[in-house]
Symmetry: C6
Subunit: 248 residues, 6 copies
C-alpha cells in the first residue's frame, strides 16, 4: 500500500543520508585520533561509502518495481525488486567491518595478519554460501545453503568473542567498556541478517513481511555500519588519549 511503499522508500533514503553523513564524519574526524588508528577510520569510510552506493542502487530497484495505480495505491510493476543486491554489498562490507575491528585492536603484526586472513576468508565464504539460498525458489535449497553459511558465521563470532576478550585484559577501563559494547552491537546486528533469511520458513510472505524485512535490514545496516564505525572511532579516540596523543 501507499503507506508501506513510502515507509520503505523513506527508510532507504534515511539509510543513504546516514551513510553519507557518517562518511563525512569519519573523514573530518581523522585528526582527532592518533595516526596509528586512522587506518580504521579509512576503512569505516570505505564501508559507508560502499553502502551508500548500494542503497542508491537498491532504491532505484524499489522505485522501478512498484507503480502508482489509478486508485492512488502502489502495485507491482512487473519489474523484479533486486534485493539479492544486498549480498554484493555484504561481500565487500562484511569483511571490511572485521578488518576495521582487528585494526583498531592494534595487535602485533603476526597476530593481525593471521587473524585478518582467517576472518576475511570466513566472511567471504559466509556471504557466498548464502547467496544461492537467497535466490533459490524452494525452501530445501534455501535451508541447505543457509546451514552451510552458518558454519563460517559461527566461526567468526567465536573468533571475535574470544579475541576481543583476550585483548581487553591489557586495556584501560574505558576502552574495555567500549569493547564490550561493540561486541554486543556486532552480535545484535549480525544476528538479524540470518533471521531475515529464515523469513520464508516462518510463513512470512506478502507485502507486509517484505516491508518488515526492508525496515529491519535498513535499521540493521545503519547500526552495523555507521553506528559501529562511530564506536570504532570512540575506541580509537580513547586509545589515542590513553597513549598521550593530543589534538593537533
Amino acid at each position: 500500500t501507499l503507506g508501506e511503499y513510502s515507509l520503505v522508500y523513506n527508510l532507504f533514503s534515511f539509510t543513504i543520508a546516514s551513510m553519507l553523513a557518517a562518511g563525512l564524519f569519519f573523514i573530518l574526524a581523522q585528526p582527532r585520533v592518533a595516526p596509528k588508528y586512522r587506518i580504521s577510520l579509512i576503512v569505516s569510510t570505505l564501508v559507508v561509502g560502499i553502502a551508500a552506493y548500494h542503497y542508491f542502487r537498491i532504491t532505484g530497484s524499489w522505485v522501478d518495481a512498484y507503480t502508482l495505480s489509478e486508485a492512488g495505491n502502489y502495485v507491482a510493476s512487473g519489474k523484479p525488486f533486486n534485493d539479492a543486491y544486498r549480498y554484493v554489498d555484504w561481500l565487500l562490507t562484511v569483511p571490511l567491518l572485521l578488518v576495521e575491528l582487528v585494526l583498531v585492536l592494534n595487535l602485533s603484526r603476526e597476530k593481525s595478519s593471521s587473524m585478518l586472513t582467517k576472518l576475511v576468508i570466513a566472511a567471504g565464504a559466509m556471504i557466498i554460501l548464502g547467496y544461492p539460498g537467497e535466490i533459490a525458489m524452494d525452501n530445501g535449497t534455501r535451508a541447505l545453503w543457509g546451514f552451510l553459511s552458518t558454519i563460517p558465521f559461527v566461526y567468526i563470532v567465536w573468533v571475535l568473542w574470544k579475541q576481543l576478550g583476550d585483548t581487553m585484559g591489557d586495556q584501560p577501563e574505558r576502552v574495555r567498556i567500549l569493547f564490550r559494547n561493540i561486541r554486543l552491537l556486532l552480535l545484535g546486528t549480525w544476528g538479524f541478517y540470518p533471521i531475515v533469511y529464515m523469513a520464508p520458513f516462518l510463513g512470512l510472505t506478502g507485502a507486509e513481511s517484505q516491508v518488515a524485512i526492508q525496515v529491519g535490514y535498513s535499521i540493521a545496516d545503519v547500526l552495523a555500519k555507521a553506528g559501529y564505525g562511530v564506536m570504532i572511532y570512540a575506541i580509537a579516540r580513547e586509545k589515542s588519549l590513553a597513549e598521550g596523543y593530543s589534538l593537533e
Copy 2:
C-alpha cells in the same frame, strides 16, 4: 492557489540555500575555534547537510504533488505529498543536534558519555513514537502516539534545562548569556513541531493550513539547525577565546 504554491516552493528553496550556506560556513570557520570544539562544528555540518538533502527530496515531492491547471492555478496532481519524510530527517538530525550541544559543553568524559547515550535514545524514541501517529488516518491513533512521543520529549527538555543550568555556573559571563539564548532557541523551535502535529485536532485542514504548516516547518528548521549551529559556533568561539586560543 498560485501564490500559496509559490510561497511554499520559495521557502523550501530558501531552506536549502540556508542549509548549504550554513554548512559552508561551519567548514570555513573551523580554524576560528580551538581544536577541542571543532567536533561540534563537524556535527553541525552533518546536520545541515542532511537537512539540505532532505529538503531537496521534499521539494521534489511538492513539485510532483501539484500541477498547473488551465486556469493558471495549482491543483493536486493525484500524487501524494510525502511530508512524513520529515521524520526521516528528524531521526538523524534531532539526535545530532543534542550531540552538538553536549559536545560544546565540554563536560567530563563520563558525564558526556552517559548524557549522550540517554539523550540520543530518548530522541530516537521520540521521533519513532511520533511516526505512526503522523501517518495515521484517525485522530485517536494520532493522539495516542503523540502522547507517547511527548514522554521522551519532556525528558529531553528536562535533562537539557537542568544540565545547561548546572554547566553555566563555571562559565564566563558571555558564555552564560549564549547558553541562556540557545536554551531558549531550543525550547522555542522544538516546541513548534508538536504543535504542528496537533493541527488536525484544531480543525486545521485544507490548503491554507497545509501552507501554514510548511511555512512553519521551514522557518523552524532553519532556526533549529542553521541558527542553532551558528549559536553553537558562537559558544565555541567564546570558550576558545576565554581559554587563550588565538587565530592561526
Copy 3:
C-alpha cells in the same frame, strides 16, 4: 520582444558569472588579509554563492515563462515568472551583507553582538514585511506593506550611517575613504530596491517596465553583493596592512 527577452536572459547570465567569479575571488584572496578579517570574506562568499543559486533558479523561471513564437518573437507561455523569489534571496543575503560590514569594522565584542542582533532582526523584518505587498494584487495592500517595510529600512540606514561615522574616527586615512565609499554604495544600491517596488504606483507596467525592472535588479545585485564584497575585501586588506600584517 526578442531583444528584450535576450537582454534579460543575458543579464541574468552575467549576474551568475559575476557571483561565481566573485566567490572564487573571495576564497582565493583569503591569504591576503589578516586572520581576524577573514570572517568577512567567508560571509561574502556565502552571499554571492546564495545569489548565484537564486539567479540560476530565477533564470529557469524566466525561460519557462516565455516561449518563441512562430513569428520569431517571445511571448508569454502561461507559466508565471516567479520574481517574488528574490525575497527569498534577500531574506538570507541582506542580513549577511550587514553582518559582513559589522565584522570588518572589528568593533568590541559587546558592540558587535548588539549591533548584529539589531540589524539582522531589522533586515529580516524589512524583507518579510515587503513580501505580502510584492505578491498583492491591489496597490492599497502594496502601499501598506511597503510603508511598514520602510520602517526597518530607515532604521538600518540610520544605524549604519551613524555607526560607520563613529568608527571612522580612529581609522587610517585610506580606510576612512573606503568606508565613505562603501556607505555610498550601500545607500545607492539599497535605495534601488524600494524604487522598483514602487513601479506599479508610477504606472510602469507591461513588457518594457518588466525588462527595466529586471535589468535594474541585476545591476543592483551585482553592485550590492559582488561589488560590495570587493570593497569589504579592500577595507580588510587596508586594515591588515595598517596593522603590519604581511603576506604569507
Copy 4:
C-alpha cells in the same frame, strides 16, 4: 554550409579548451611567482573561467540556431544565434583584464587605486555604449553608439600606453621587453573587436562573413585572455626573480 558550421563549432570548442587549460595553468603556477603578484594570476583565472562559461553558452546557441538538412547541409533553424551574449562576457572580462595589468605593475596604492577606478569605469562604459548599437537594426544607430563607445576605448588605450611607458623606466630589461610585448598584444587584439563591429558598414553580410566574424572573435578571445594571461604570468615571474624570490 557543413564546412563553415563545423569550423565555427570546432573553434568554439577550441576556445573552451584553451580557456580551461589556461585556468588550470594559472592555478597550478601560483607557487612560481612571489605572493605580491599572485593576485594577477587570480584575476586571470577569473577571466578565463568566465570566458569558458560564456563560450559554453554561445556554443549552445550556435547549435540551436542551425539544423542539418536532408541534403546534409546546415541551414538556419529559426532560432536566433545570440551573439550579443559576448557583450555580457566583455562587461565582466574587459575590466578584469585591465585590473590584471595594473596589479602586475605593482604601483603605489594611490596610483593603483585611481587608475583602477578610471579604467574600470571606462571599460564598462565602452561595453555598455556598444551594446545598443550591436543589437540595432539600422546602421545609423549602430554608428552613433559605436562612435560613443570609441571615446572610452581611446581613453583606455591612451592611459595604458602612457602609464605602461612611464612604468617601464624603472624595470629590468627583461620586464621592459615583456611590457612592450603585452602592450602590442593588447592593442592588436582589442583593435579587432571594433573592426568586427563595423562589419555591416563594409558590406560584410551573409554566412561567410558570419563565419569570418566568429573565427576572428574566437582567435582574438584566446589571445586577449589566455595568451595575455600567460604574458602577465611571465611578467610576474620575471619581476619575482628580479626581486630574489625563489621557488618554494
Copy 5:
C-alpha cells in the same frame, strides 16, 4: 534468465564498488608508506580507476544487450554485448600492474628501467596479439592468435618468477612471505584469462557459459587489481617499516 542476468549485473556493480573503494584506500593510505614507495600506490590508483571506468562501460553494454520480456525474463535485445572491451582495459592495466610490482621492488635504476621496458612491451604484445583471436569467428584464427599471445605471456611469467626470486634474497622475512604470496596471486589470477579465452574450444557456449565467463572475469579482476594492489601496499608498508619509516 532473470537470475543469470541479475547475477552478472550485480557482480559488475560489485566490481565497480570494489575498484572505487580500493582507489580511495590507495589515496588515503599514501602517508602510511615511505615516499619512495608511494609511486606504486599511485599506479595502483590508476589501475583501479581505469578498471572502474571500463566496468561502468561494460555494465552499460550488458544492460543494452538484454531486455525484459513479457514473461518476466531477460532475452537478447539484438544489440551486441561488447566484451572485447576488456582488451582495451587490459592494454592499459596489465602493463601498469607489472610497473607496480617492479617499482615496489625498488631495484637499481638500470635494472628497473630495462625490466620495465621489456615487461611493458611484452604485456602490450600479449594483449594486442590476443585481440584478433577474441573477435574472430572461427576457432582456427582464434587458436593461432591465442598461441602467439601465449609467447609473451610465458616470457612475462618467467621474468617475474625469476626476478622476484632473485630479489627476495636480500629482504626481511615478512617481505619475503608477501612476495611469495603476490607471486602466487599473480599466477593464479593471470592464468584465468587464457582459460576463459579457450572457452569456445571446450564447447562452452550459450547463456550459462556467458554467465560463468563474466562471473569469473569479475572475480579475477577484483583479485588481480584491487587485491593485488592491497598486497603491493602491504609490501610497501613492510619495507617502509623495515627501513625505519614512521608515520607522520
Copy 6:
C-alpha cells in the same frame, strides 16, 4: 562493419582512459621532481586533459555518424563524422608538447624564450596550414596545403634535433639516453600524422582505411602525449636526482 565500428569505439575509449590516467599521474607525481621541473608536468597535464576532452567529443561524433542496421551491422547515419576536430586538438596540444620539452631542458632564459617563440609559431602555422587541405574535396588543394604545412614541420624537426643534440653535451649519461629516446619518439609519432594526411593520395578510401586511420591516430596520440609525458617526467626525475634533489 560491427567489428570495425567496435574497434574504433573501443580505441577511442582506451585513449580517453589513457589520457585521464596520465593526467592523474602527472598531478600525483609532482613531488617527485624538483620544483624547477614541475612546470613541464603542469604542461603535460594540460596536454592530456585537452586530449581527453577532445576525444570525448570525437567519440560522440563517431557514435552519431553510424547507426545499427536491421541486420546487426553499423551503417552511416547521414551525420558527418567530424574528424577535422583533431586539428583543434593539435592547435593547442602540439605547441604545448614543444613547450614541455623546451622547459625540461632548463636552458637559459634568453634561449628558452627565443626557442619557445619560434617553435610555438611554427607549430601553429603547421596546424593551420594543414587544415584547409584536410577539409578540401580535391587532391590538388590538399597537396598544396600539405606542402606548405610541411615547411614549418621540417623547421620544427630541425630545430629540435639540433637543439636537443647541443643540450645533451652537458648532461649526465642517463639523461642523454632519455633525450635520445624522446627525440626518436617525437620523430616516430609526429611522422605518422602527415602520412595519414596523405591517405587519399595512396588510394586509401572506404571503411577499412577509415578504421586504419582512426586506429593509427589513437595509438599515435597516446604515444605522442601520454607516453611522451611519461618520458618528460623521467627526464625531469633524472635531472632532479642528478642535482641532489631528494623526495620530500
